[in-house]
Symmetry: C2
Subunit: 234 residues, 2 copies
């Protein structure tokens, strides 16, 4: 038996041996957005040591979770296998669960394109969604979220694109929202759209501010219950 094996014959154990090592889940999270090259992953995970990244990529490949795909012109990308893609609902549920205890960002925390993309998918409520096109800026990450018929599609815009400036995807967004990490409070329902505007948590730099109500209905993660604060109780 491998020295570092958990030594149990069990589905959960197998799963944890495949994707439980440090950084592995975050690599999978980013690959759930789309295929990524080594350098993309490194940029999206600024604090991962490069030797750990390459080790994890090998392990995930060995475990059948990801695949190495050479590109036609040059370079290569890593992508999830069908088996790896089956992690999507689990990752979304885990993101929803972890969202509850995010609190405020620590000094030095970053928001990356892929993590924000997954966060939007995590918070998406198909049933409460109204069709709309949002352009969302958080820090220097810019996304375009298209909601149509209860389906969400998220596209990543060029970084540092001036809000409302680009005409990259055809047509203008209904609303361009510029926010900071405090947008968490809106999605958590801790503050209402009008409070968010009043407290400068975010701004609607183009489009009617009423789109913010639709946005808050569409992207929402309800708190589990009040007992969440029952922490550190002996």
């Amino acid at each position: 038996m491998a020295a570092r094996s958990y030594g149990q014959y069990c589905g959960v154990t197998s799963a944890v041996e495949l994707i439980g090592e440090r950084w592995a889940m975050l690599i999978v999270r980013d690959l759930l957005v789309g295929p990524r090259r080594y350098t993309d992953l490194k940029l999206g995970l600024p604090r991962i040591p490069t030797n750990i990244l390459s080790t994890r990529l090998k392990e995930l490949q060995e475990g059948g979770v990801i695949r190495r795909v050479p590109l036609l012109n040059c370079g290569l990308v890593y992508e999830l296998t069908p088996y790896g893609q089956a992690l999507e609902p689990i990752m979304l549920a885990l993101g929803r669960w972890g969202f509850q205890t995010m609190g405020e960002p620590e000094e030095g925390d970053v928001v990356t394109r892929d993590s924000l993309t997954m966060a939007l998918r995590t918070a998406f409520r198909a049933d409460d969604s109204a069709d709309a096109e949002y352009e969302l800026h958080v820090g220097d990450v810019a996304l375009r979220a298209s909601v149509q018929d209860g389906e969400l599609r998220v596209a990543q815009l060029a970084p540092n694109a001036p809000p409302a400036g680009g005409q990259l995807p055809p047509g203008e967004a209904d609303a361009v929202i510029v926010a900071g990490p405090g947008i968490r409070r809106l999605i958590a329902g801790e503050i209402s759209p009008s409070e968010a505007l009043a407290q400068d948590v975010l701004a609607v730099v183009r489009g009617e501010e009423t789109w913010l109500d639709s946005f808050a209905d569409t992207f929402h993660i309800a708190p589990l219950s009040a007992e969440l604060n029952a922490r550190s109780m002996t």
Copy 2:
């Protein structure tokens, strides 16, 4: 920022910082079955070092996932907080996912009461279930699975209880199934109930063998697809 922080402001990251450390998920898995004392956890995780167990218990407590509850007479148990219990669907989904790649047990792998209990919950198909009482033995783990109106309840029987010997829960089981780890192949649908019997993967030591068909319908984890074998493809 903590040295070992992932440095990202994201729900998945928060979740992984709470339950992503080594052994943490397996502790949560066992606590999803019910409150457990320190010694129970140690027995259920034979390979965990005791210092790691106590460190994880402190961390999970600090994170609001578990709670320490002193018992009236003596001793104490750890139990999940409501927030921790919210991990149940995630754990079941993860168990289902990991089940696909379990293969055959490694030398030295064990099956514990709690892991088998969770495995049954993982494999349970409410829609295809017929009411029944099963007594299941795998290795020296003995469980009583009661299926009624699409609901599953699993009770753990005394270890080393002679199959069909005990009258612990009121009434006799419809079928007493004695199996080894090969029962995975039945649950995965790799073999049929009759093949399982013919190949001595398991035996029905009391009750009609036809109960095994109900069992196989009730507890089943379908393979994702054929491409699962597309491993290690460069």
